[in-house]
Amino acid sequence: MTIVVCVKHVPDPADPVVLAADLRVDREAGAGTLSGLDEYAVDQAVRLRRARERVVAVTMGPRGARAAVTRALQMGADEGIVVSDEALAGADVLTTAAVLAAAVRSVGDADLVVCGMSSTDGGSGVVPVLVADLLGWACAGHAAAVELDGGRVTIQRDDPDARRTLVAPLPAVVSVTDLSGEPTYPSFKAILAARRRPVREVGLSELGLGTPSTAPGTRTVSAVEADPRPPARIVTDSDGSGAAALLELLAGRSLLEVDR
């Protein structure tokens, strides 16, 4: 059997975001990186890999997106698939999920798909459940811990009111949160070994998909950078001046009245 891990190439959060004229992210502007939240997914997929199994990292994106698969290979994935097609520029989540589901099918013997809880740039977090529905599989989302036993996957999920244990039959899609364990950085040996692992580049037609429909959908009409806050008033604390400034601010907004 095979574990597929879906990975996304995103702008480096440390770089300023640059939007091109068509309001899409200018992906050529910075080097880009594997989405930080997908590192957790790769780490869990590699950890869950059972004997004689392989982990296949799949990404959809422009040419540079291959770097996300490269990083996944360095972190221990065995193979990679890069789905790249001109027709996919600006794809929405539904198209993305359809492409990833088709890539999972193309792997043949996958019974588990691991995703990050959301991408660090778009951030909707719904791709995993859409992939699951398109495959007709179970989806167990937002796992803080994942275990496989027999034909089932068990996850721990932190809800506001309780920590729940959920069980779903395989095949299944799970998404893991950033509380699932700190991913380990690749070793130099792993970085060099990753260069020998196979990466398959495919277009839509190889996955048996047509050009995504351009039915009237969502259209981003404007994008503006958030205004920075005006420079702060800085108080260097001495002899209670810090607390005084804090309480003065709260009192000025009538927020010290409570509990009297």
């Binding site: 939240l37 779903a168 969502t218 920075p228 927020l255």
Partner: protein
């Protein structure tokens, strides 16, 4: 009509009312509830602008499939759908959009009639950008509730009906086999509090002053991810990109450096106060009042001053 998804596991009654008021400004509102509403609930939802209430026996901690099926039965070809932008709400919304072949927009912070049907605004890239998006009316939209502006509603007297549907989950849907409840905790909810006091690595594991100060002024306690990773705060306290987003009147960040992922969860706060020993900490470039100092000293002083000013309870 606009159908509104309520009663999600990770939403709150207050957030549900905000969602209804957001929707009522767009169109006539039908709410989907997970259980029969009592009279008070009917009145509250009516006061928020709901015209119709539809309910079915749907467990908040059950699988999302039955919720999706119930919503699908509720909406006609021209109706919009609004769900809370929480993990559970987004999941139901996405599955519904796929099932009905509708456009999807996640995480709106405003929604209005306009363009081809609806115009929504949202933030992207860890809240560093504001986007405006147009969609057809018959779309599925999820919206945040913290800090959104809601117009005053026109009160309604909603009709209540039960959805007659087979809502048995598909056999492959995940099932909850165990739940360890969390202590409710004193004080206001993190997402609804007027003041949030958050601690980070700078607390060095000691949240006692943060809790004491928050308790005194009726604030909620939040944290950075480092504090959660270290086990000093429980996961639902985490503010930020992978935690909750808050929009209080005042956000107090104590011993938090101001990483972009943390800022993403509190940029909507009206006033931000930072307490940090490092005058070069990035949080000082993202606050209104910056206190350069040791959080333990500053908070101890603040606690003492508030206690002194408080009338003695007899």
């Amino acid at each position: 009509m606009i159908a509104v998804l309520l009663d999600q596991l990770d939403s709150t009654a207050e957030a549900d009312l905000i969602l209804v008021r957001l929707a009522a400004a767009v169109d006539e509102v039908t709410c989907l509830l997970g259980s029969a509403p009592d009279r008070d609930r009917v009145a509250a939802l009516g006061a928020a602008g709901a015209s119709h209430l539809a309910w079915a026996d749907l467990a908040p901690d059950g699988p999302s499939g039955p919720w999706v099926a119930a919503l699908a039965a509720l909406v006609g070809p021209d109706d919009a759908v609004l769900a809370p932008s929480t993990r559970a709400g987004n999941e139901v919304a996405a599955r519904l959009a796929l099932r009905l072949g509708r456009p999807l927009s996640v995480g709106a912070d405003s929604i209005a009639v306009g363009g081809p049907g609806l115009v929504v605004t949202s933030t992207a890239f860890t809240a560093t950008w504001h986007l405006t998006t147009e969609l057809p009316k018959a779309s599925v939209v999820t919206a945040v509730s913290a800090g959104v502006q809601v117009p005053p509603p026109t009160p309604r007297t909603p009709g209540v009906r039960r959805l007659e549907l087979d809502l048995t989950p598909a056999p492959h849907e995940p099932v909850v086999v165990a739940a360890a409840p969390k202590a409710a905790g004193a004080g206001p909810r993190l997402t609804e509090a007027a003041v949030v006091v958050s601690g980070g690595r700078g607390t060095d594991g000691d949240f006692s002053l943060i809790e004491e100060f928050a308790g005194l002024i009726g604030a909620a306690v939040g944290s950075s991810r480092v504090a959660v990773d270290q086990g000093w705060a429980s996961p639902e306290r985490q503010v930020g990109q992978t935690g909750v987003s808050v929009a209080p009147e005042v956000y107090i960040a104590a011993g938090i450096s101001g990483a972009v992922q943390h800022l993403a969860g509190m940029v909507a706060a009206k006033q931000v106060v930072a307490i940090n020993t490092d005058p070069d900490a990035p949080i000082f470039r993202a606050c209104d009042l910056g206190i350069v100092g040791d959080l333990h000293t500053v908070l101890a002083d603040a606690v003492a001053a508030v206690r002194k000013a408080q009338p003695v309870h007899c």
